[in-house]
């Protein structure tokens, strides 16, 4: 019985692994592979994580520490009439209780606009909004203290319908208004009417990032309250530092942030959650404060993926060539701004998909409601756009009498094509190749009439026999921007030191599971010919690395590490050249030696660097981007990556149950730096996209989350995961420092519409909304 994820085929065109001979302890000579770029290097923390030995942020402990906990709003919208802390203060073991009045600096925070209160003081705008925090000697004392805080609310009628938020007569629920951002894209001929016109309205539910390592931090106050150290699981320690310092009214350098062990992020750790609270309690009590959320609290404590409603109309010729797109996209941002403005821009600028299109009329709205705040999640606005444009491509195919593959091939964009924003695609753009290579992957074997019922749809529920099951096939192809957009300079910094054949790397890059802890040493080994690479603690004692998001760290922090190592290599060659009287320009690294390209001089890097010390810091900046103008025109994105997915699903049409059988995919990765890590991203992203397609949804009822647990917020299990057959397409990206594109987000984007299309193929239903529920299929 096959019930594990199996990746049958990994096609990698140019994996550069070099081998050297070495003496082992046993004295036998054998070939060992050096973990340089291209090698299937293993994560240094992998075995510890599997064995439960890895210290996550929630495992940190300190002498004399106190526990912190948060009181949250039970109402989606209410006015705070009064807060009475007296009964809570009377509880033994309670050391501090803080509310909005205890915030010494800025009362609000936010990644783009600072509109979210550290603590609600006048109004609460979503269920779960923090109102107060306590510090006490035990979590149970905290719980009792929270229960003893008496908040009187005047409950107001919440605004939970994003369409209603658009109406001018709807009362504003925040001083900044209900419109988080509006942007249009007007391009080309606004009057074209296609020979073929297809349109529909698509919807996506609210997905949660559902990382396994819950929010957790520990704050250590300086004596006298002059500053604070925070150890935290986060995605961008410098952004945390900046926002915390502003709220604490401390100089930035008095807030020192260190990365704790992170158990997944997927965008949910980009915003402030417990950072400010934890530091405030530490400064207030002069004791270390430990805070950690429960799973339920985590659902209230971080932003989610934006639910969206997208109306879209395609105009095309009879041959299926897209001429014009019209669309209205509404993203529900929830109560506070978070990154909604940037998510919206990603949504509208990717609505054409990886297809040529000359004319467009797009109106995008991100609105404020009393639903939980939404922000970054893997795919960042493009997931929503892709579900709409890929669903449309299938409609177009049917209208033109073409196959799903043919309609996509006819419209596939390539390098040099112009987007609807006017930006020219300069990235490598192997869209056609992604589609063709995916199409070439063999289909799974047909369902056997005598198949083991446990392996069929419904699994151990024994709901379905082969005669109840219909198989469907569906396609999805996507384009995803890499790095931050709209003029943002999200640079990355790295420092490299070399001494005695040992490299120390220092950077502030948050390792959230993506694998930079394995990639950075690979880069150093490749550039400098060393074997031993030590990673220094990730903290704010060096310049920013930017966020671990937007598929950007391999490109950005990878570029910074590469740059710093190259600077050190230059110094090393000069050093060797001077001592041995060789022009440093003639020196190159060969495995672990420095060799003269022309002569026969050779010295090991270890010998050459013994007694010396080289130290260089490098900042990598991507090329500048522009803001969009009033008509949505401008070079707003840095670069793009592409991927194709083909889904094969089995559907029990009568019961509406689904099992995904196979995902075939070909992804444009630029260059494979580590095949194990790359396949890990591909499989993980597919799991997340599968979840959105058929089961993952935060169910809301008038602003309240109905399923804040893993009992009822369903994530795919091993038995829900299909075989993944992946082809990694290597066409090195000239702009990228290592030739490699970011690979984190693309896997989860077009797999969702591919699965939806496969279910449509099996059932004949329209299914304009994900996740697709059983009742959507069979009722």
């Amino acid at each position: 019985m096959k019930n594990t994820v199996s990746t049958n085929t990994v096609s990698i065109n140019t994996v550069s692994t070099s081998t050297v001979s070495t003496d082992t302890i046993t004295g036998t000579r054998r070939e060992v592979r050096r973990d340089i770029l291209g090698a299937p290097a293993l994560r240094p923390d992998g075995a510890d994580k599997v064995q439960g030995k890895f210290a996550f942020s929630s495992d940190i402990w300190a002498e004399h520490m106190l526990w912190g906990a948060t009181l949250r709003s039970p109402h989606p919208y209410a006015r705070i009439v009064s807060i009475d802390l007296s009964a809570a203060f009377d509880i033994d073991g309670v050391e501090a209780i803080i509310t909005a009045v205890d915030v010494p600096g800025k009362k609000t925070y936010g990644l783009i606009s600072s509109d979210q209160p550290v603590f609600a003081s006048d109004f609460v705008r979503y269920v779960g909004e923090p109102v107060a925090c306590v510090a006490a000697d035990h979590p149970e004392t905290c719980r009792r203290a929270l229960a003893a805080i008496n908040v009187i609310y005047e409950v107001l009628t919440p605004l939970t319908d994003p369409e209603r938020a658009l109406l001018p007569e709807t009362p504003k629920i925040h001083p900044d208004g209900n419109m988080l951002r509006y942007q249009k894209i007007i391009c080309g001929d606004q009057t074209i009417q296609g020979e073929i016109i297809v349109e529909n309205t698509y919807e996506l539910g609210m997905q949660d990032q559902a990382f396994l390592g819950l929010e957790a931090a520990m704050a250590f106050p300086d004596s006298g309250g002059a500053g604070v150290d925070l150890v935290i699981a986060t995605q961008w320690i410098h952004e945390d530092q900046k926002q915390i310092a502003a709220c604490l009214d401390l100089p930035v350098d008095k807030v020192r942030v260190t990365l704790g062990g992170v158990g997944g992020a997927f965008g949910a750790r980009e915003d402030i959650s417990l950072q400010v609270h934890c530091c405030l309690l530490a400064l207030k009590t002069s004791r270390p404060i430990k805070m950690q959320y429960s799973r339920e609290e985590s659902f209230y404590g971080h932003v989610h993926r934006h639910p969206a409603k997208i109306w879209i109309r395609h105009h095309a010729t009879n041959e299926g060539i897209i001429q014009r797109i019209e669309s209205k996209m509404v993203f529900d941002g929830g109560a506070y701004a978070s990154t909604s403005a940037a998510v919206l821009i990603n949504g509208i600028t990717h609505i054409q998909g990886p297809y040529k299109c000359e004319s467009a009329t797009v109106h995008g709205f991100a609105v404020r409601t009393n639903n939980p705040p939404c922000g970054a999640m893997r795919g960042f606005g493009v997931v929503q756009a892709c579900f709409a444009h890929e669903s449309q491509m299938d409609k177009l195919a049917v209208a033109c009498g073409l196959s799903p593959v043919e309609i996509r091939l006819r419209n596939a964009m390539r390098t040099g094509d112009k987007l609807i924003t006017g930006q020219v695609i300069e990235s490598v753009a192997p869209v056609e190749r992604c589609i063709r290579e995916t199409d070439a992957i063999p289909m799974p074997v047909p369902l056997a009439r005598d198949a083991n019922p446990l392996e069929l749809v419904g699994g151990s529920g024994l709901t379905s026999l082969p005669q109840n099951i219909v198989r469907g096939v569906g396609w999805g192809v996507s384009i995803k921007n890499l790095m931050y957009s709209e003029k943002f300079d999200d640079y990355a910094t790295a420092r490299c030191q070399l001494h005695d054949g040992i490299v120390n790397l220092k950077f502030a890059t948050a390792e959230v599971g993506q694998g930079f802890v394995v990639l950075a040493p690979q880069i150093a080994r490749s550039v400098l010919g060393v074997d031993e690479v030590i990673l220094d603690p990730v903290d704010t004692r060096i310049g920013s690395a930017g966020s671990t998001s937007a598929s950007r760290q391999t490109w950005m922090s990878g570029g910074a590490v590469d740059g710093a190592c190259r600077l050190v290599r230059e110094q090393l060659f000069e050093h060797v050249g001077k001592i041995h009287n060789i022009d440093p320009l003639r020196l190159v690294i060969e495995d672990t030696d420095i060799v003269d390209m022309i002569g026969d001089f050779r010295i090991s890097v270890i010998d050459a660097s013994t007694g010396a010390h080289f130290d260089q810091t490098f900042e990598h900046h991507h090329r500048p981007t522009e803001e969009l103008d009033e008509n949505g025109q401008g070079n707003c994105h840095v670069a793009f990556a592409f991927v194709a997915h083909r889904a094969v699903v089995d559907v029990d049409v009568e019961l509406g149950l689904v099992k995904v059988i196979q995902i075939a995919t070909a992804q444009d990765v630029g260059r494979v730096l580590n095949p194990i890590a790359a396949i890990g991203q591909v499989e993980g992203g597919i799991a997340q996209g599968l979840g959105l397609a058929v089961m993952e949804e935060i169910v809301l009822d008038n602003g309240k989350i109905r399923n804040p647990s893993f009992t009822d917020y369903l994530l795919p299990t091993t038995l829900d995961m299909p075989d993944v057959i992946a082809v990694l397409i290597e066409e090195p990206e000239p702009q990228a420092p290592l030739g490699a594109k970011g690979i984190g987000e693309p896997p989860c984007i077009s797999v969702t519409p591919a699965i939806a299309a496969a279910i449509r193929n099996a059932t004949g239903r329209d299914l304009p909304r994900v996740p697709i529920r059983p009742q959507d299929i069979c009722l």
Partner: protein
């Protein structure tokens, strides 16, 4: 909080007699979740995991019944001879949670919690199980139908421990099917057990997760008995199957909640019943 860890049934009964307000824990797969969520704060707990008598199972000398200890983990109901004698119970056991949950969870816990979504309960209902209760002062055997009183409510007295259940070993096809939104490790949104008793020419159908407690479809059973000769395999006509499904759907009393809708649950449970009837009559 005090935790008593008796190692024999008599010690356990003495402990509960002394403190009838104590919370009994067997595998803990329900209770520990409740405690984690702060929904329950028991002050005294009696843990039954070391009471090995509760983990036994036996077949009556005449071979007519099987008695299963309340603490026997689901994992042991999948593989053992139990699967041969009471296949529907083994199938239901296999649908419970993950391997870890099945290694801890038990029928006693299912009965104690008495959730309408309890996976083993439709099987107990369809087979007219007898629940054996013990206290320090005596023993009581009651029908599972009387035991299950309502949503998460049962007829256990505070000083009683659920000791075991007895199920008849019947000749005839039986099966269990369950719908969830995931292909494993999922709470039932509709389930059905159908058991044919050839010896008595009877058929029994019980539904899970579509009412406040397990629903036994007695009206449908009576009607079906008049339509089919249950002492042998029948050819079930399309019309009869449809009417059977409609009757089962009528007996269900599902609700809308965050897991599913009443309309879907009714449709699903009816579909499961029809499929089980078809399987029962597949030669």
């Amino acid at each position: 909080m005090t935790v008593a860890v008796p190692t024999s049934l008599s010690d356990a009964l003495a402990a509960i007699a002394q403190n009838p307000a104590a919370q009994i824990i067997q595998g803990g797969t329900d209770l520990m979740v409740e405690i984690n969520f702060n929904r329950r704060k028991p002050t005294d707990v009696i843990a039954l995991r070391r009471v090995l008598e509760l983990r036994e199972w036996s077949i009556a000398k005449d071979g007519s019944t099987i008695t299963i200890g309340a603490g026997l983990p689901y994992a042991q109901m999948e593989d053992d001879e139990i699967a041969r004698l009471v296949p529907a119970l083994a199938q239901a056991a296999r649908t419970v949670g993950s391997p870890q949950i099945r290694a801890a969870g038990s029928i006693g816990g299912n009965l104690g919690t008495c959730s309408p979504a309890g996976d083993a309960l439709p099987v107990l209902s369809a087979l007219d199980a007898i629940v054996h209760l013990r206290s320090s002062t005596g023993a009581r055997n009651i029908s599972v139908h009387e035991f299950m009183v309502g949503v998460k409510r049962n007829a256990r007295a505070p000083d009683e421990i659920i000791v075991s259940v007895t199920l008849p070993i019947v000749t005839g096809w039986q099966g269990y099917a369950k719908v969830g939104v995931r292909n494993a490790m999922v709470i039932s949104i509709a389930s059905c057990c159908l058991a044919v008793d050839r010896t008595n020419s009877a058929i029994r159908i019980a539904l899970g997760a579509v009412g406040p407690t397990i629903i036994r479809c007695r009206a449908t059973e009576a009607w079906l008995t008049s339509q089919l000769d249950l002492s042998s395999v029948n050819t079930v006509s399309t019309n009869l199957l449809k009417e059977f499904g409609d009757r089962v759907a009528q007996e269900a009393k599902p609700i809308d909640d965050h897991r599913s809708t009443a309309v879907y649950r009714r449709h699903a449970v009816s579909t499961l019943a029809k499929r089980l009837l078809t399987r029962a009559n597949t030669p």
